[in-house]
């Protein structure tokens, strides 16, 4: 028995190549091994993800004064931000629920606050002029990195 390894750069070749090889006589088995690149996530990712999941569980009236549960889309926006961010991006930020179903990101030095909603985010900061922007993970991350300096 001899084994041959073929490394493919283009995954779309896999199916036709497999058919061709299998059609040959003397082929006992075609095995496929796929490499998956896993981005290593650190302590900040784990901590912030736990916090987001905790806030996602808040039920209506969680402040005993009529607060709304956090919107699912807001949670999704936050998770997308977390997936794209490095540990250093969100290390100095704390995530809080707001009564209208949105989320506040506040930095520990106390000079910046970002409100994340369904379709927009707004922010104030000492370092850059505050504004409202449409939610895009890249633009939100860019603002955070600018504030972080």
């Amino acid at each position: 028995m001899v084994e041959m390894v073929i490394r493919l750069e283009d995954e779309s070749l896999l199916a036709p190549l497999r058919r061709v090889i299998k059609s040959l006589s003397g082929i006992a088995e075609v095995l496929v091994r796929k490499e998956v690149k896993v981005k290593a996530k650190g302590e900040v990712y784990t901590r912030q993800l736990a916090r987001i999941n905790e806030l996602a569980e808040l039920e209506k009236d969680w402040d005993d004064n009529g607060a709304l549960p956090i919107e699912k889309k807001v949670i999704k926006n936050l998770k997308q931000l977390l997936e794209k961010s490095e540990d250093s991006d969100l290390r100095e930020w704390v995530i809080f629920p707001d009564i209208n179903g949105t989320i506040l990101l506040e930095n520990k030095s106390g000079d910046a606050t970002i409100s994340v909603g369904n379709t927009e985010f707004s922010f104030v900061s000492k370092k850059i002029k505050g504004s409202n922007e449409k939610i895009k993970t890249d633009s939100l991350l860019k603002v955070i990195r600018k504030i972080n300096g």
Binding site: D64, L104, G110, T113, G130
Partner: protein, 150 residues
Amino acid sequence: MADNENVARLLKSVWICDGMISSAAFNLRPQIRETYISVLRENTDTFNADVKKVYKKMPVSYALMKTEGIRNLKTENLEDDIKFDVKAVDNENIKSHAGIFITINGQKLVGGEPFESLEIKRGTSADCVLLEIRKTIARFASKKILQFNG
């Protein structure tokens, strides 16, 4: 109310994290068109009883703030004239009740009221004004967080 009086803002535990209080703890509730942020006057006979009336579950954390400090708060990133004041609020059940009142360029801030009615400086986002106001109070409040055990 005298400048040297202390007022307490009772806090949900979810609003305190890593020694800081969230700006979310200083919202004017839109559903009741709230005109002030509720606080309790610490130097009153009914303070302890009033805390228990407001919060059934103990212990509860609260931010203790000097009235003078609130009145002197300055928003950092705005050109608008933002003023803070603390006044007693009549309440038969909660005698120590008081409120933090906010004006923007002389107009009273009311929860849920359309911002179009406020004359904020051109080029400033209304959302950003609100965020800055809440952040300013939250940072001041974070200086002294205490616990009431009942």
